[in-house]
Symmetry: C2
Subunit: 176 residues, 2 copies
Amino acid sequence: AMEKSYMSMFLLLIAISCALAKDAAKKETKETKETTAKPKLPQTLSRGWGDQLIWTQTYEEALFRSKHSNKPLMIIHHLDDCPHSQALKKAFAENKDVQKLAEKFILLNLVYETTDKNLAPDGQYVPRILFIDPSLTVRADITGRYSNRLYAYEPTDISLLHSNMQKALKLLKTEL
Amino acid sequence: AMEKSYMSMFLLLIAISCALAKDAAKKETKETKETTAKPKLPQTLSRGWGDQLIWTQTYEEALFRSKHSNKPLMIIHHLDDCPHSQALKKAFAENKDVQKLAEKFILLNLVYETTDKNLAPDGQYVPRILFIDPSLTVRADITGRYSNRLYAYEPTDISLLHSNMQKALKLLKTEL
């Protein structure tokens, strides 16, 4: 019961902090204008989730590559101004086992939602990690610890995420 | 059906534009495997079209930003292994006037086609540059020199592209 109430407090916190997503995006648009004048490092496709990994740019590209390489697709939805996303990103980028295993996936991290409802089986929230089989089936069965946000992970869930990645690598259909 | 349309779109893209595209994609997939082991520079959103400019990652993001910033959107379709795309990219990146003017746009460069047919008024080919008004109207009236590929530009067309960018900056609707 203790754990449960702690959990609901945590989820409430997520709801409060990351509901600001839209405002954050607006703010970013504003800042964009101000930063164009001075030279800076080019933006990366990794966005800090693992600079040495290969990241796809778009959902269309990711689906194509998954199907044709027969590798599962891992999609991370996140936001720059969500502290839970940032904390998970840090844990993800620093964990060598996770980074190594991630090489076996087609990878996509998204700040903006796609129009595909299959990527939001229990709603749109961040951070949210979904696996898609090369047969282009969303692996809705691969979930984290939180019953009301099945695809959310905390930094402390990184070993669960690792084992979920292993699960996703066991493909639903294998080529003949 | 979804996956089939992605596939046929990609094949159409290859057929119309650069014959080497399919080999290129295969080669890239192959290289992907080989290069994951050694450290390398992170992939950029600019892909060489102007590292100091702000590039959006996806079409969804670009539409959102265009609408909310009231800046027109410029979408460049290109391919890494298409010599025409590469030549235009070089001219685009090296032209200071074009780079300066590009700051006034929401920018997106895409290697994979979206599912939005509005982005292919006269077919899918590369290089192909389309402008979209913040009212989310495709500016099909802003065209290059070639009657059978209205949105294609050659490196020698860079000043036409510059004047087309100026045209796109005169928005269809102005805010009250």
